[in-house]
Amino acid sequence: MSEIREVIIKTDKLATDKYQVNMGPQHPSTHGVLRLLVTLEGEKVLNVQPHSGYIHSGIEKMCEAISYPQIIHLTDRMDYLSAHMNNEAVALCVENALQVEVPDRVKYIRTIMDELARLASHQLWWCVFGMDLGALTTFFYGLRDREHILDIFEETCGARMTVSYSTPGGLMFDIHPNFQKRVKDFIKYFRTKLPEYDKLLSGNVILRERTEGIGHLSYKDAIDFGVTGPSGRASGFSCDVRKHNPYSAYPFVKFNEILDHRCDTLARYEVRILEMYESLNIIEQLIDNIPEGDYAVKMKGVLKLPEGEFYQRVETARGEFGVFIVSDGKKNPYRVKFRSPGFSNLFALNNMTKGHKIADLVAIMSTLDLIIPDIDR
């Protein structure tokens, strides 16, 4: 104590020293078991070192021991908020390898489900983002609206989050007879609620003060780190796989890729809000035009991929998700690699937070929308 006092007397200001703090693995605002080793000087962040692997579940290794249809249920558990897109990525990869063409009905339903999942994910992100900045109300409002989507999933897919709905060759079930009516009701309902999000949080002076100019990620850095999804698009990096490499029913719909060139936390926030409007537009274009037909192609009992390497990428709610399968002609893959968006996005964090306050670190991390099982796999 006396030493500090001496320093204060000598230098006439508060003594500061570099010190390291562990944020996580059990910190509530890390959205999971993520450990950040933060080097601080006073309140200023000098360095952020993410340590991942606390819930590493070895999914890639497990995939080597099971057959292709069984991989689907593991991908649910990586990025559990984009379960539909993850399922679809594996299903598309296997279908491309076997050169199976699925009916248009399957493509339409998959796309609608993707967009519903994206909406649900962005709703959850919105409410958690508000909560990270201290606005608890948003948490309840976001979850209230998300419940409608989860009910749609539960009715058609049989589960709320771990849906396992897309399978190689089609879908697990046909859509429920109530599906179209429910989705239309939801769109009507959510179109009245989405402006409330803006009123409640987007215009809020506290949110704007805390996000404007914070966490700058330049266009070049976004590409260097491979930051994709809404976080990358907020830096002006046009990386929407739906637009550049369309799959399923995305070639049939018109939608805008939301780009923002402000590169800060507010830009990432607004890109996601605008994406929710785009998702509603996409669903509206598809929901009345689901073609008649089979919901699945008849596949063989045991799927064997031809020898070779196959890659398929899709756009999840967090960015580009890729599945890389190396097959040696057996019923199990020789090697499976998942390119998960969360992993690349996380490691841009150090670059974005340098020089900001520790409270801003929470806000910046929240706009990256990290899902920890997606990072650790």
């Binding site: 099971i66 249809p69 069984q70 689907i72 249920h73 593991l74 558990r77 109300t137 209230r144 419940e147 009910d151 539960e154 009715e155 058609t156 897919c157 049989g158 589960a159 771990t162 396992s164 697990m172 079930f173 429920h176 409330e196 009123k199 409640l200 949080l201 215009g203 809020n204 002076v205 506290i206 704007r208």
Partner: protein, 160 residues
């Protein structure tokens, strides 16, 4: 002077944005019929799950204690994590033929990820997904279940 006026204006603008947000919360405060919360443990009697909801794997039996399972083991092959074990036994039919039938269809609910692959693969539709979701038990061993009831037999007319 100009910056001072801007400063004062920004304060009022800031307060205004807060009031706009408060209007939304006040609207829900005074319209409690918009609440969507379910009183869960109290509404158990009226709570109906969706018919496709995957709560557990069950094997329906008829009143005569008959099921549709032939003990072929396809569900066991399709299960990604070994939640299903089929123990079969061989019997001698009245015609004098040897036949393998199901002895115990063991289902580990604690390991099951409810992926629906077994139900989808079952050739006779013997197992289906049940809607029960309250699975908490005091002992982990209670999560291992035998799906075919004791003394049950296969229904007549099921193709092998």
């Amino acid at each position: 002077m100009k910056s001072f006026i801007e400063y004062i204006v920004s304060i009022f603008k800031g307060v205004w944005t807060l009031l706009v947000g408060m209007k939304v919360t006040a609207k829900y405060f005074f319209t409690p019929w918009n609440n969507v919360t379910q009183q869960y443990p109290e509404n158990r009697d009226t709570l109906v799950m969706f018919d496709r909801f995957r709560g557990e794997v069950i094997m329906p039996h008829t009143e005569n204690n008959e099921h549709l399972c032939t003990g072929c083991g396809i569900c066991e092959l399709n299960c990604p994590n070994g939640s299903i074990e089929i123990i079969s036994k061989s019997i001698i039919t009245p015609e004098g033929k040897k036949k393998r039938i199901i002895d115990q269809h063991i289902y580990h609910l604690g390991m099951c990820t409810l992926c629906n692959l077994c139900v989808k693969a079952c050739p006779t539709g013997a197992i289906v997904m049940g809607q029960k979701f309250e699975h908490a038990v005091w002992d982990r061993a209670l999560l291992t279940k035998v799906l075919n009831q004791p003394g049950s037999k296969i229904a007549e007319g099921v193709k092998e």
